[in-house]
């Protein structure tokens, strides 16, 4: 029973190893936990989870494993789009020919309108098929299915990684593994950004200078001191979270961790897919506590270097059209906001975790690159190198 729990944890992305599992068994044998489920929960969490970021995942697996999967299909009619419709029931894998047969329905507005109509028509859970909103179907609406111009409704993780999506997802996934960036080599690259400004009182022994001066002094000791190093670089970091970034969150977190120990002034904000009029600081409360982008620009002077991390993979509407955001109504298109940021922060760069070879196949990346006038770089060692060079110039 516990082995299944262990495997479920690994599946859910909690990095547990065999050693830790054995520790848990040993602790149980020694009777640390007593016989209540709550004790066992605390014990298992202490032994198996090593990072508070994984607590939530652990809780979900624990609940699923020990309470049994909850009856999901109750209370169907309560809300207009119950999330359980979209619970995965089956997976649909079409051959390339079949995929080609799946027709796009038309433009953005048409999709939204049809969705509203169809939701009004439909009553009840639906799965498979070509028209109704549900799971694993070929209708443009719903989740876990396949339609290139589909609108995603209430899916847990983004399966196709884009509401209006790119085709060849599986290739992307394979390439993702070849992006070999760990905390340590990101650190190396980020050092480029360091500019050591020597300021302050002379505190550090200058060994070379001392030897030199002593030699010139015919062997009498002559100590030379230099000021301590201070890192003068200020960085403003914008991170894309959620949606199509799910797979890249790990890489970005590593970059972020490395960055945090590298600069004296580092401010970070989150956004989703593209920068609009608000950003947020705390991802758990992103809907409650939004900070106007204008305020961010007022607070941090243009001497900050702006680094945006995002895959820029989204529907082109989300960049160029007012109201194109998938989360809220935006009066001005994302393009206007990125332009504003670019003007305020002359030294800026966009780091894109998507492999560079794929960029030309994703229209939204093309648009973003145009807006940035080429200041988009891949999230690889070489790419970061180039980005840092661009940030230091001008």
């Amino acid at each position: 029973m516990l082995i299944r729990f262990f495997l479920m944890l690994r599946e859910a992305g909690v990095p547990v190893s065999l050693t830790e599992f054995l520790s848990l068994l040993e602790a149980l044998k020694q009777g640390v936990a007593g016989y209540s489920i709550e004790d066992f929960y605390f014990l298992a969490r202490t032994v198996l989870v090593k990072d508070e970021r994984h607590y939530d995942r652990f809780d979900r697996v624990f609940a699923a494993h020990f309470k049994g999967v909850e009856q999901a299909f109750a209370a169907l009619a309560a809300t207009p789009i119950p999330a359980d419709w979209l619970r995965r029931q089956a997976e649909l894998w079409l051959s390339p020919e079949e995929r080609a047969k799946v027709e796009a329905l038309g433009g953005f507005e048409a999709l939204m309108k049809t969705l509203a109509e169809r939701l009004a028509e439909q009553r009840g859970r639906h799965q498979g098929g070509n028209k109704w909103v549900g799971t694993a179907g070929r209708s443009p609406f719903g989740a876990y299915g396949y339609n290139p111009e589909g609108v995603r409704v209430g899916q847990d993780g983004s399966r196709q990684r884009s509401a209006v999506k790119v085709w060849d997802r599986r290739e992307f996934r394979n390439l993702d593994d070849s992006v070999e960036i760990g905390t340590r080599n990101v650190k190396l690259a980020l050092r480029r950004l360091r500019r050591f400004a020597r300021e302050g009182a002379a505190q550090e022994l200058d060994l070379g200078g001392t030897i030199d001066a002593t030699a010139r002094n015919a062997g009498w000791l002559d100590l030379k001191l230099v000021p301590e190093r201070h890192n003068a670089i200020k960085v403003l970091l914008f991170l894309d979270v959620g949606g199509s970034m799910d797979e890249h969150v790990r890489v970005c977190e590593e970059l972020f961790t490395a960055a945090r120990s590298e600069f004296k002034h580092l401010e970070y904000y989150y956004f989703h897919n593209f920068v609009y009029e608000t950003v947020w600081k705390d991802n758990r409360r992103r809907h409650a506590e939004r900070i106007p982008t204008l305020e961010v620009m007022r607070t941090y002077a243009p001497d900050y270097r702006l680094v945006i991390v995002g895959d820029a993979t989204m529907g082109p509407y989300e960049i160029v059209q007012p109201g194109g955001s998938v989360e809220h109504w935006n009066d001005e298109p994302g393009a206007a906001w990125i332009e504003r940021l670019r003007r305020h922060y002359p030294r800026h760069a966009w780091l894109n975790p998507e492999p560079e070879e794929r960029w030309e196949y994703v229209p939204s990346i093309g648009i973003a690159r145009e807006l940035l006038e080429g200041r988009m770089f891949p999230l690889t060692l070489a790419g970061i190198d180039r980005a840092m060079r661009a940030l230091n110039g001008r």
């Binding site: 190893s17 640390v32 004790d39 014990l43 202490t46 090593k50 990072d51 590593e254 120990s261 900070i291």
Partner: protein, 290 residues
């Protein structure tokens, strides 16, 4: 495996000065029973460092504290070879110079290993050190032994110490290190736990004052955009000030329902930008409610 204690492992459940929640006690007890290091994280001011003191006190064990700075090396926790003293002594013709053992200075870890009874060892703020620091301690924490090259001596723990490690999350710790530790994240206490904590520190506090103070405190924590949210230790300081100044509970609440600035809020907000932001918010709030 080095000898484990034959007697049943002692259990920790908080002390009269320290309120430990059920999950925290479980984490500490698991670490004691299996003799693994326990890594503690949490917001600053939630009593991470204090935990070690209280564990040592309640178990009646000696406490050894090793405070980590950005310049601390793992080797310093084991031992240091004081070559400079030896050089000086050799110039002066001191006889001690022939025994290199005279110049080996024991570190905290060695002290813990050599202790007569099982000690509690606190490694405080491990994230302050260099990124390689935890990796350099892997074998020492795992096998509880290390080798002194200068004297060709193997130092082994007589009793596996209870090791508590705190981190403020400034650096990511390596996986290999985490595998060897148990982990607990001290969550910010909810209002009930907080009342218990306050009762421990200020027994017999007037209930009205407590209620108003807690209300003002949690409201302040909810202010978006604060650089440093006030934590338990700041709340305790603030209460101490309120008591010292003998401020009545009514002063914490504005009679007409308008937002009030809590008195002596300098004890809660430690950052001038935060104070400024807060004053601005209160000001705006007043204007809109007028």
């Amino acid at each position: 495996m080095p000898p484990a204690h034959d007697t049943p492992a002692p259990r920790f459940g908080g002390t009269e000065r320290y309120i430990a929640t059920a999950d925290l006690s479980m984490a500490v007890n698991a670490a004691i029973t299996l003799a693994r290091p326990l890594l503690i994280k949490g917001e600053p001011g939630t009593g991470k460092t204090q935990l070690a003191e209280e564990v040592a006190r309640s178990l009646g064990r000696p406490l050894l504290e090793w405070h980590i700075k950005s310049t601390t090396k793992a080797q310093q926790g084991l031992y240091e070879y004081d070559a400079v003293s030896r050089l000086r002594d050799s110039q002066l013709g001191d006889a001690r110079v022939h025994d290199i053992g005279n110049y080996i200075v024991r570190g905290k870890l060695w002290e813990a290993f050599a202790s007569d009874e099982q000690p509690v060892l606190l490694i405080d703020e491990i994230d302050k050190a260099d990124i390689e620091f935890p990796n350099d301690l892997l074998r020492e924490l795992d096998r509880m032994e290390f080798y002194v090259y200068e004297t060709r001596e193997l130092v082994r723990a007589r009793h596996r110490p209870i090791i508590l490690i705190t981190s403020n999350n400034e650096k990511e710790l390596p996986d290999a290190f985490l595998r060897r530790c148990f982990f607990h994240y001290i969550r910010f206490p909810d209002a009930d736990t907080m009342s218990q904590i306050i009762e421990v520190h200020f027994p017999g506090l007037k209930p009205e004052l407590l209620k108003e103070a807690l209300g003002a405190f949690y409201a302040l924590r909810e202010v978006p955009g604060l650089k440093k949210k006030p934590s338990t230790s700041e709340l305790l300081d603030w209460l101490k000030l309120l008591l010292a100044e003998d401020i009545p509970p009514e002063a914490l609440r504005s009679a007409d329902g308008k937002a009030a600035i809590p008195p002596l809020y300098g004890a809660l907000l430690k950052n001038e930008q935060d104070v400024h932001l807060f004053e601005q918010l209160v000001f705006m709030n007043r204007r809109t409610s007028r």
